[in-house]
């Protein structure tokens, strides 16, 4: 087994990528620790990549996690409150149920916004009905109604309320839809009930879908914009503005001559969502969490939608041109001008960082988009992805992933903490990219790590401005002196050969 990461002066031999057979063997090895039935289940989720997307290497996904394996997944409440609706800044999001769910998701997601906290913006706050035993026994509808009234009184500038259901709500048979309807009328503002109880579905994913449907049913198409329409109106969908990502992406779209009329949902507002149906095109970054509303808007309003990728120069330029193709010569010309300007910046970053990062091998495990979407950014800096996987992706995400990776690269769906650790131990990447629950495990193993949900408190990573920050951070993680100091000189641990 190779020793922990050495200083980057050993830029010598980069180990070759394993073949499909070698990856299969590694997978088999790791599965041996499981009871046979569990091994059989898990085997369907661990495959070597086939860039052609062949049936043999198809990864099973979006099904229940096996109990007790230490899945990294969360639940539907997290997908709804944490991911999709929580970032909406001018709504109050009630965590409806006991105190815990809202507490553990308070201020922990870096969906940035402009606003005055507690006055016209409510993102980094914890609003809850703090269920006690009597609420379980007698139901929480009356309390919910009173909570809505108290919110309107104490937070008069709130533009609306969402009710994020926690597990007990669905189990005790509360009728939050009725309360929401009543309170919407009484308070003259949208009150959106969301049935995102944690036991629904198998991960955060169904929570995204439920939240999208709630927007569809209670907000979509309900208002007309105050601003005149233009032929260049677009909605920026599926960007949660982590560390300012959406602002960095919006800059590119505006440089292209497009007019962004709504951000779904980072730094987003009720009004943007309610007037979005006037977009000429919907541009979606996080496909997994918001493809649903794009499909709805296409069916209901005839709005076409396009997926795009603003991670790294290659994908940015490719996406810009593909988007520009949906518009006129004016946009195409503006786009080429912007690309020319951006190339100067891209060059500066590539020149500075590629020599330091070339050949470095990266393993990723993120949510539903980034395990494939960031590959281009790493490759733009000369790095290589040697393993990737998702917490809660579906088949269509894996279909989009296969062509982005080389043959034989290991793909893991809903990996357990054990599997991730085992793969990392065998593959010894130069950099791990995953979440906060994984970070300190890999640090203790001597593997540099960057959080790829929260950007490790950095960002933005999207767009032109984000690429420089991304490059700086990957360099910092890999090249910090700490990694070379882990083994005490007097220990009898194995020495590098």
């Amino acid at each position: 087994m190779t020793p922990p990461h050495e200083s980057s002066s050993s830029a010598a031999a980069v180990p070759p990528l394993p073949t499909r057979e070698q990856t299969e063997a590694m997978i088999g090895d790791v599965l041996a620790a499981y009871p046979p039935r569990t091994a059989k289940f898990r085997a369907r989720h661990l495959k070597p990549n086939d860039p052609g997307g062949g049936k043999e290497c198809e990864v099973k996904s979006n099904i229940k996690s096996r109990p007790g394996v230490m899945t990294i997944r969360g639940c539907a409440y997290a997908g709804s409150k944490g991911v999709v609706l929580g970032p909406l800044k001018d709504m109050v999001h009630i965590s409806h149920g006991p105190v815990g769910c809202g507490q553990y998701s308070w201020g922990t997601r870096r969906n940035y916004y402009h606003g005055t906290l507690g006055i016209d913006s409510f993102v980094a706050m914890q609003f809850t009905t703090d269920f006690a035993e009597r609420d379980i026994v007698f139901g929480g509808d009356k309390k919910l109604a009173q909570v809505c009234q108290e919110i309107k009184e104490l937070f008069p500038l709130a533009r609306g309320i969402t009710v994020q259901s926690e597990c007990p709500i669905g189990l005790i048979g509360d009728d939050i839809d009725a309360v929401a309807r009543d309170q919407s009328a009484a308070l003259a503002c949208p009150v959106v009930p969301v049935r995102c109880e944690g036991f629904r579905g198998v991960s955060q994913s169904l929570g995204h879908h439920i939240a999208n449907d709630a927007i569809r049913d209670w907000l979509l198409g309900t208002r007309e914009p105050a601003v005149e329409a233009t032929p260049y109106d677009v909605a920026l969908i599926g960007d949660y503005n982590i560390g300012g990502d959406a602002w960095a992406s919006r800059k590119i779209l505006e440089d292209m001559g497009l007019n962004v009329i709504a951000q779904w949902s980072g730094d987003g507002t009720v009004n943007e969502l309610a007037t979005s149906h006037h977009a000429k095109v919907n541009l979606i970054h996080c496909y997994r969490s918001m493809n649903y509303i794009c499909t709805t808007m296409e069916e209901r309003f005839g709005i076409p939608w396009a997926e795009y990728n603003f991670f790294g120069p290659t994908k940015i330029v490719e996406s810009m041109r593909r988007i520009a193709d949906l518009f006129d010569e004016h946009v195409k010309a503006r786009t080429e001008e912007a690309i020319a300007r951006y190339e100067v910046e891209f060059d500066r970053i590539r020149k500075a960082f590629t020599p330091r990062l070339k050949g470095k091998r990266v393993m990723l495990l993120v949510g539903g988009l980034r395990p494939r979407h960031t590959i281009g950014a790493y490759e733009d800096l000369g790095m290589e992805i040697i393993g990737t996987g998702y917490e809660f992706a579906h088949r269509d995400d894996y279909e989009r992933t296969n062509p982005e990776l080389k043959d034989g690269v290991v793909l893991y769906d809903d990996p357990s903490a054990f599997e991730l650790e085992e793969f990392a131990n065998r593959l010894r990447p130069d950099l791990m990219g995953s979440g906060v629950k994984e970070k300190y495990v890999f640090h203790k193993m001597g593997l540099p790590f960057r959080q790829m949900h929260s950007w490790d408190y950095s960002g933005p990573y999207h767009g032109v401005d984000g690429f420089s920050v991304f490059a700086r951070d990957m360099d910092m993680a890999i090249n910090n002196p700490t990694w070379g100091l882990l083994r005490a000189p007097w220990t009898t641990a194995e020495v590098a050969s």
């Binding site: 009871p35 109990p67 105190v99 009905t129 035993e133 920050v469």
Partner: protein, 508 residues
């Protein structure tokens, strides 16, 4: 290779969005936001700082805003991690476990192993027996713990899953051996708080491990610290007991589990109270509980079943509380208090005499778990500081009367009001209408600190936005010096920040 990339300046979110182009972008975006006017925002902001708003705020009956409270199973997970080789298993929805792990990881900056039985919608109908059985099988095969401590999420509680029944079933299916320890506790999230969950899990673990183990007295003193998310505090308690020469068992001890070294190898179960020692705890001479709010059920067990001396003490923060701890433990263990301990006490008093002038008369708002609030209040009074607003969302009447007692015993305690059950939005009104000089509490007080311009000393849980504070104690004489250091230097930073040039003294 150069060590500094030749990239020039790289601006991240801290700087880049202040640039003109991004400020203009934000202005353009407003056209689609239907935003409030800046006048509306300013007027409302002012209104929310008023007495009128405070009254409405305190008239709330149903809404909770920014509470300082978490749910039972979170506490159960910490309790489990205090015992050697123990894997917490929370039976119910898997999202909860993801949250408990990330919550503790953000505070300790450590891995927090825990597994879920991953119940989904069909388990809500049929019950979670098969989930728990499979969870035990998978977890023990893969993670090889010496013990699995089981608690519950509210889903499992609402549908009425019976843990004892299920665990017996798991043994019947031979998924775990007949003697393999699987203590359990029901931890409904809609009852009490994380303190309750900690308590019942410790009780469950001790009840299980000590069964049939009554034997000859072992001459030890048990120390049950209660919910203490500070590895520094646990280490300081152990160090102090070591100085006293007391033979002790710490029930539980997550000081290594949640503060392990980085060596290049990841260890799943570093440290924790050895299970054999925990089993033998029933034969101790005496048991000392350090925080009433998270040890009362365990104290009932000891009182009822173990039949030895037991006493509940305040968390040993400050001079009198630490004196009480030292004297009580020394008496129970039958040891003389050594000069080294007296000297430590002397050093704390020395530090207090160095620094009191910057803390005397300072008005303080303090927020946290009830036992932390009572204990730190006592220390503040010893420094001549003036507690004004004391908030504990999960504090009950017992906490309130204990705190009133402590306040009444000091001339500096007369301006305080104790607020059990209130949240940080209540605190905001309190501070805006009756300002203070210092805030003491978790990272969640930072918004108020910034808004009101009052410095925050981070003590308690969770502390997410500063590093390594939990590695340092606030208990004991040593912890008193550390806490005093934090308090006085925060006051001095603020003094320097606001001082007129002539008062910008080199020596303070």
């Amino acid at each position: 290779m150069t060590t500094i990339p030749a990239a020039g300046k790289i601006r991240d979110h801290n700087e880049i969005f202040r640039s003109e182009e991004y400020l203009e972008q934000a202005e353009r975006k407003k056209a689609y936001e239907q935003p409030c006017t800046s006048d509306e925002v300013a007027a409302t902001l002012e209104w929310t700082k008023s007495w009128e708003y405070r009254e409405k705020n305190f008239a709330r009956e149903a809404l909770t805003v920014n509470p300082v409270k978490a749910c039972q199973p979170l506490g159960a997970v910490l309790a489990s991690l205090g015992f050697a080789g123990t894997l917490p298993l929370v039976h119910g929805s898997q999202g909860c476990v993801a949250y408990f792990r990330s919550h503790f990881t953000r505070h300790f900056r450590e891995p927090v192993p825990a597994v879920s039985s991953s119940m989904t919608e069909d388990a809500a109908v049929f019950g979670g027996m098969s989930n728990l059985v499979e969870a035990l099988q998978n977890a023990t095969s893969v993670y090889k713990p010496a013990m699995v401590a089981v608690s519950t999420t509210c889903m499992a509680e609402v549908i009425g899953d019976d843990l004892q029944n299920f665990i017996t079933g798991a043994r019947a299916k031979e998924v775990i051996g007949p003697e393999y320890p699987v203590p359990f506790a029901h931890t409904p999230s809609f009852v009490g708080s994380h303190l309750t969950g900690y308590d019942v899990m410790v009780r469950g673990i001790l009840s299980s491990l000590t069964e049939g183990r009554k034997a000859e007295p072992n001459g030890k003193v048990n120390i049950v610290p209660g919910f203490l998310p500070s590895t520094g505090d646990l280490r300081e308690i152990k160090r102090l007991l070591g100085l006293l020469g007391v033979d002790y068992t710490l029930l539980g001890d997550h000081s290594d589990t949640l503060d392990s070294p980085a060596t290049g190898e990841y260890e799943l179960y570093p440290g924790g109270t050895p299970l054999e020692e925990a089993a033998d705890a029933v034969n101790a001479t005496a048991t000392v509980f350090l925080q009433e709010g998270s040890t009362r059920k365990t104290a009932e067990l000891v009182r009822h079943d173990w039949g030895a001396d037991e006493v509940t003490l305040p968390l040993p923060v400050g001079v009198a509380n630490t004196d009480g701890f030292v004297a009580t433990v020394a008496r129970l263990a039958g040891v003389e208090i050594p000069a080294a301990v007296t000297a430590e006490r002397g050093r704390l008093l020395d530090a207090m005499s160095d620094s009191y002038s910057y803390l005397h008369g300072k008005r303080v708002a303090l927020v946290g778990d009830p036992d932390l609030v009572v204990a730190v209040t006592a220390f503040l009074l010893e420094l001549g500081a003036i507690p004004v607003h004391l908030v504990s969302t999960n504090g009950d009447e017992a906490f309130a009367s204990k705190t009133e007692e402590v306040l009444a015993a000091s001339p500096f305690g007369h301006e305080a009001t104790v607020w059990p059950g209130k949240d940080l939005w209540h605190l905001r009104s309190l501070v805006h209408t009756e300002p203070v000089d210092l805030l003491i509490g978790s990272s969640y007080l930072k918004y108020l600190s910034r808004e009101a311009g009052i410095p925050l000393v981070r003590v308690g849980f969770p502390i997410f936005d500063r590093h390594h504070l939990h590695r340092y104690p606030i208990v004991g004489y040593g912890g008193g010096i550390w806490l005093l250091t934090q308090l006085v230097n925060t006051v001095l930073e603020e003094l320097d920040r606001t001082a007129p040039d002539h008062s910008f003294d080199a020596v303070r």
